[in-house]
């Protein structure tokens, strides 16, 4: 998969803008209300980029850089109320407003000096969570709390409604309820490293160190374990509608349909059938379309359960570490370990070829 087949240039050359920076891209998120894509960088900065407005990459405004953290930026999340929230190894939890301009200083939401804030999450109700080691801090309207966990925190995720926070670690996942502060433990032996909620909040999935996915149906506590990955499924996500769960963990994206009575029998693969591991993925916000990033830098659009694919970016830019669709699904942002970042406007003709999810 060194180059797109058929001689077609990748989408980034046709309708994208890309940049090469000195630091690795740690995470990417789109600020709400039609804002730019924000890239958290390993040198502590957050850079903002917009997709080009005309074909051929013309009309792309330049990058805007905001100095955020003193060391590395370690985590980034879009704030549903606007802007972004970032955590860094300087212990600060920041709110960034791209409209404020490069010269503006980000607002400091919390300062946990001496801690590395490696995970942040923001709820639809305005709660902000950040984690370091075995502690999770919650900051928000009417609630300031510190949760102590039995093991180091490996991932944080609020459910789509914003009422529950899932905290992953060793031996299971802990659920914290914003309504009453109650904690509930979902036990499952193993080391849980990544989290994803289904859009309706009925399912919670975790990616495990033991090359497996664990998935809970929260209504009745039923648990499914999906095994047989050659690697660790650390990038996972649910399709916009239904309960199709996709993850990496091998050279292809693997999906399971949890609406099926025996989901393990519905395993399907998508993307280029090669040998390069998938390193990142992102579902389109409304269509049955996946963006998959690979360890060699390639980024493809794929249809679930199909070998069909379209190159967004060819290989060579280093492992893809960050992928995110704009909220309207009209643009994709991507970033790599080697500091390559791009924002690509995805033509409506391409999106219309994929059915609604």
């Amino acid at each position: 998969m060194n180059a797109p087949l058929g001689g077609l240039p990748p989408l980034v050359a046709l309708c994208g803008a890309h940049w090469r920076l000195e630091a690795p891209v740690v995470a990417v998120a789109w600020s709400r209300r039609g804002g730019p894509a924000a890239f958290a960088m390993g040198d502590g900065g957050v850079v903002f980029a917009r997709p080009p407005t005309q074909p051929g990459g013309q009309g792309a405004p330049g990058l805007v850089r905001m100095e955020a953290h003193a060391g590395a930026c370690l985590a980034l999340a879009a704030d549903p109320a606007g802007g972004l929230v970032s955590g860094g190894d300087d212990g600060r939890l920041l709110h960034l407003d791209p409209a404020a301009g490069a010269a503006s200083a980000p607002a400091v939401l919390a300062d946990h000096r001496g801690e590395w804030l490696d995970h942040v999450a923001v709820s639809a109700r305005g709660l902000r969570a950040c984690a370091s080691g075995r502690r999770v801090w919650l900051h928000g309207p009417g609630s300031e709390a510190v949760l102590e966990l039995a093991s180091g925190v490996t991932a944080l995720a609020f459910d789509p409604a914003g009422g529950r926070l899932a905290i992953a670690g060793h031996g299971g996942v802990e659920l914290w309820s914003a309504a009453d502060g109650a904690r509930r433990r979902l036990e499952a032996p193993g080391y849980h490293r990544a989290l994803a909620w289904s859009p309706d909040g009925r399912y919670l999935a975790s990616g495990m160190q033991e090359n497996a996915l664990c998935c809970w149906r929260l209504g009745d506590g039923q648990r499914h374990l999906f095994e047989g990955y050659p690697g660790q499924p650390r990038a996972l996500g649910f399709a916009a509608r239904g309960h199709l769960l996709a993850s990496n963990g091998g050279p292809r994206v693997v999906s399971w349909d949890l609406d099926h009575p025996r989901p393990a029998s519905t395993r399907s693969e998508s993307g280029y059938p090669g040998r390069v591991p998938v390193s990142a993925l992102a579902w389109h916000p409304s269509r049955a379309l996946l963006a998959a990033g690979y360890h060699n830098g390639a980024v493809l659009l794929c249809r679930p359960g199909s070998d069909q694919h379209l190159f967004v970016q060819g290989s060579g830019a280093g492992p893809v570490t960050a992928l995110a669709w704009a909220a309207d699904g009209a643009a994709l942002a991507l970033g790599t370990q080697h500091g390559e970042l791009a924002v690509v406007a995805i033509p409506a003709q391409i999106l219309s070829m994929a059915r609604a999810a």
Binding site: G42, T154, H170, Q209, E210
Partner: protein, 330 residues
Amino acid sequence: MNAAPSRLPVTVLTGFLGAGKTTLLNHLLRESGGRYAVIVNEYGEIGIDGELVVGAEEEVLELNNGCICCKVRGDLIRVVSGLLKRRGRFDGILIETTGLADPAPVVQSFMADDEIRQQARVDGVVCVVDACHFLTSLERSREAGVQLAHASLVVINKAELADEAVVAQVEREIARLNPGATVLRSARGAVPAAALLDQGAYELPRLELPAAPSAARARYVPVPQGRHTDGLACVSLVLQRPLERGRFLAWLQRLVTERGEKLLRTKGIVALAGADRRFVFQGVHMMVDSDFDRPWRTEETRDSRLVFIGHGLDDSELRAGLDACQVSPA
């Protein structure tokens, strides 16, 4: 899948409290000329001269893969992942472990995690021992033997304070229990930084095992076990006839699955029947990394050399198992 040259080298320092780990660490930071991130457990208690010193709470986690010896350090995965995000600012990572720590979960963290393995590699495990006290530690404490077993390089510190006879005895014990380790003597942690910082001890193409003939052969005689630290022993075997691929791989798989907890280190350079390339492997407990390496050279003896270090190993059983993997004599 191995040895992407750009992977960040990680050096692990083990050794008992008082053996001189911190002194050695500071010496390395001064002498190497490189920029290193340092991960320590006892953060704040000791003076380390590094630019970037990070504390990590020792969090040993069992993996749920049917093997109780598959453990990783959750704190290290976290800190190293964070350091890798800001890559380009340093040349390597130095990890100082606590005096009683088992190095296996440290090394296994780098073998078991896909993301970390793609970007970082353990370059070597350095065990710092105190020339005057090491033999006593070895007799009294299981941990001393375990640390020695995992070492790719042993620094005999404070050698100038001990009798030459004692130092020689220390060297013999090291050679008996871990014949593959490089041994250096030092005074106050002063050893050449280059020798410690570019070992490639876990890179299969750089795996070296002492050749069998003449002087070295004495080392290859199986030694009666059980004298020290819960029967820690090293079994080194040389087989002249090539091994049959299917039988050998099945044997090795069964060995590490069934004996993984007792097997601290395994290493081998193997001649498989019909293969033009050397088959090399190295493992920590149940985790084994293996690959076909360079072709055999024409002047080379195509024998198989294997080393097993562990507790209560039965050398005759290992020998018999491997004998059964050999192809029939022509």
